[in-house]
């Protein structure tokens, strides 16, 4: 990959050098590049405009929201935030904490269980490996709707409805095949000599896994953690099904309850809480961009 991108680099200078009368072409080049940037920036503004507009609206009185598409609020009015924060039966931080519990459990579960499975698939020889690997890949494509009804019945018989167990336990059992696949791909890229060296040093498989593979897999683990965070934070369907008690509600359920309970006139507080809900994702996005982009480039996750 490194060599290929390196081989790619000469293109731009080569292209420029080939121009028969350099000066006029480079002017055209400049102009073209200017318009490319102009187009890209304009498009980015269009893409982000709805989000920026929601952010700005969250600081406007509701009557002003409907007055037009302008982005600059008259002042930083925080009433929407204080009003939205207390509009539901519980203050909004209650739902933030609930979401945080679910997210933390999911991240730990995915990191531990998926990395264990990935080590086996990437480094160990065992009977049925190809079959199991194929099954694991198959589960990635499985629509959740196919299993959600029996899962509901199972968890309801276990008395787990309205607890966070149905959301966390599956992660501890490595049901997110995506992350196993991602880590398998990553571990396969680590030199096997390191395993051999550790083996000679007297490490067993657990030792190799914990002392050699895991520390070197930090990028893959970080990708897993970030994506688990974002997916779980955004997840609506399974939280909607497994959590019916308002006290247990997570952020997406709280927002939905907000929509249902308020009349259409309280867009301001609703937007304010939406911004609060998107905040953590945006934060993780800024912190983990490098991993996120590499993660989806290698495995295509969303």
């Amino acid at each position: 990959m490194v060599t290929k991108s390196a081989s790619r680099k000469p293109t731009a200078p080569a292209r420029r050098a080939k121009a028969p009368n350099g000066s006029s072409h480079s002017v055209r080049d400049h102009r073209r590049r200017f318009f490319t940037h102009l187009g890209l920036i304009a498009f980015a503004v269009v893409m982000l405009y709805p989000l920026l507009w929601m952010l700005s609206s969250s600081f406007k009185p509701t009557t002003e929201i409907f007055r037009g598409p302008g982005l600059i609020p008259d002042g930083l009015m925080v009433d929407n935030y204080t009003e939205g924060w207390t509009a539901l039966p519980f203050p909004f931080h209650h739902y933030l904490i609930n979401s945080a519990i679910v997210v933390a459990g999911s991240i730990i579960g995915n990191l531990v269980a998926c990395s264990l499975a990935a080590y086996a698939f990437a480094r160990l020889e065992f009977r049925g490996k190809k079959l199991f690997f194929a099954i694991m890949l198959g589960t990635i494509m499985l629509p959740i709707h196919v299993v959600i009804v029996p899962q509901y019945i199972l968890f309801s018989n276990l008395g787990w409805i309205n607890t966070y167990l149905p959301l966390i336990v599956p992660k501890l059992l490595a049901t997110d095949g995506f992350f196993i696949f991602l880590m398998v791909q990553f571990i396969r890229g680590l030199p096997k000599d390191l395993d051999e060296a550790a083996r000679i040093d007297g490490c067993g498989h657990l030792g190799i896994f914990a002392r050699v593979i895991l520390p070197l897999s930090m990028p893959a683990l970080a990708t897993t953690a970030i994506f688990t965070f974002i997916w779980t934070w955004n997840d609506f369907l399974s939280q909607l099904i497994f959590l019916t008690d308002p006290e247990m509600y997570t952020v997406p359920l709280a927002l939905r309850a907000f929509v249902d309970s308020q009349s259409q006139t309280s867009w301001g507080p609703l937007f304010a809480m939406s911004i609060v809900a998107l905040g953590p994702i945006f934060g993780f996005f800024l912190a983990g961009q490098r991993y996120l982009v590499r993660g989806i480039a290698t495995t295509g996750i969303k």
């Binding site: 990959m1 290929k4 081989s7 790619r8 293109t11 731009a12 490319t36 940037h37 890209l40 498009f43 980015a44 893409m47 989000l51 929601m54 037009g68 598409p69 269980a113 499975a117 086996a120 698939f121 160990l124 065992f126 490996k129 199991f132 694991m136 589960t139 494509m141 629509p143 709707h145 196919v146 299993v147 959600i148 009804v149 029996p150 509901y152 199972l154 309801s156 059992l173 000679i200 040093d201 067993g204 498989h205 934070w233 955004n234 609506f236 369907l237 997406p252 927002l255 939905r256 929509v259 259409q264 939406s274 809900a277 998107l278 945006f282 996120l292 982009v293 989806i296 295509g300 969303k302």
Partner: protein, 320 residues
């Protein structure tokens, strides 16, 4: 400590007799077998596979042949659920809605992703910034918060209409009009083109520059270079994105649920198949019917994925 041991084995004095036969013995046992350790590492995954994945799949197959409302035991009903599906007009319309959504939004989304990826691949300065900005909606697109935003943007007094209003255009409430509501969700999906775009970008990077140089020397136009170099060499990536985005699109739920307030309205125009399944299972608690629907979904998704794979033989080009 590790260092000391490594030094010991590296010592030329010690190794002569002992390790050699052991290594030979090792070679005889090839392929080496770590089954015991592997099964231990895979134990959580096995449990998950049995209890969270395969068990429920088989259970839903069984429930699909029963009448089951969670109260009492499932009652065997033979093919009743499947026969009922044949006559259920809401189910038919939900299938139509879902197919329209998948077959319109996925090509648009991938076209957009490829176009932007190609522009960004031409050595634009600030690439990481553009890439991040375009990618951001992919992370937010499936959230309730963005669905709420969409509901306002395309609402009767929403952003779009207040914009159109400033030109004196009086437009309907897009999300509350049966002809346009699905379109707003298509736009939402196209808006999240960033994830496939990043994959396209990675794919474009893999195409050796010398192909383009050679084509340029031969006088090939940009269009020809695109059709005869970029597209053929990118087909595996196009295929990958197509399969992935189709599977995703078939499962769309949150956006339709929030935008329509859980009803799939107006007039079932946003009643996605998954939303109808949810209504049957968790609204009416008709678990048998919902399970039958789930199996139809599985067959449809698996079917389209299989067709994709079969068709890929004719258009996907693997360089090696």
């Amino acid at each position: 400590m590790g260092l000391k041991q490594r030094q010991k084995t590296a010592d030329p004095q010690t190794p002569p007799a002992d390790p050699a036969p052991r290594r030979r013995g090792h070679r005889r046992r090839r392929p080496k077998d770590d089954s015991a350790a592997a099964y231990l590492f895979l134990a959580p995954w096995f449990l998950g596979l049995v209890f969270i994945t395969i068990g429920p799949i088989l259970a839903s197959l069984y429930f699909s042949f029963t009448d089951y409302s969670l109260i009492g035991d499932p009652r065997w009903a033979g093919f009743d659920n499947y026969l009922a599906m044949l006559e259920d007009e809401r189910l038919h319309s939900s299938l139509l809605v879902t197919f329209q959504y998948v077959f319109v939004s996925v090509p648009l989304q991938l076209g957009m992703a490829l176009a932007l990826a190609m522009i960004l691949d031409r050595g634009v300065r600030g690439l990481p910034i553009y890439r991040s900005v375009y990618y951001l909606p992919s992370l937010l697109g499936s959230s309730v918060a963005v669905a709420i935003l969409w509901r306002q943007i395309f609402g009767a007094e929403g952003l779009i209409n207040s914009f159109l209003g400033s030109f004196g255009i009086d437009a309907p409430g897009w999300v509350s009009h049966p002809d346009y509501a699905l379109g707003t969700l298509v736009i939402l999906n196209v808006w999240t083109f960033g994830a496939p775009m990043v994959i396209f970008l990675a794919g474009l990077r893999q195409i050796p520059a010398m192909y383009y140089e050679a084509a340029r020397v031969d006088g090939a136009s940009p269009m020809k270079r695109f059709l005869h170099i970029t597209v053929p060499l990118l087909t595996p990536i196009i295929f990958f994105n197509l399969v992935l985005q189709m599977i995703n699109a078939f499962q769309t739920f949150t956006q339709a649920f929030i935008v329509s307030g859980g009803t799939g309205g107006p007039s079932d125009s946003t009643l996605f198949y998954t939303l109808y399944l949810y209504q049957q299972g968790f609204g009416s608690f008709d678990m048998g019917y919902a399970s039958a629907m789930a199996w139809l979904l599985l067959v449809i998704v698996a079917g389209f994925t299989a067709v994709n794979f079969l068709a890929s033989k004719y258009w996907v080009f693997y360089g090696d």
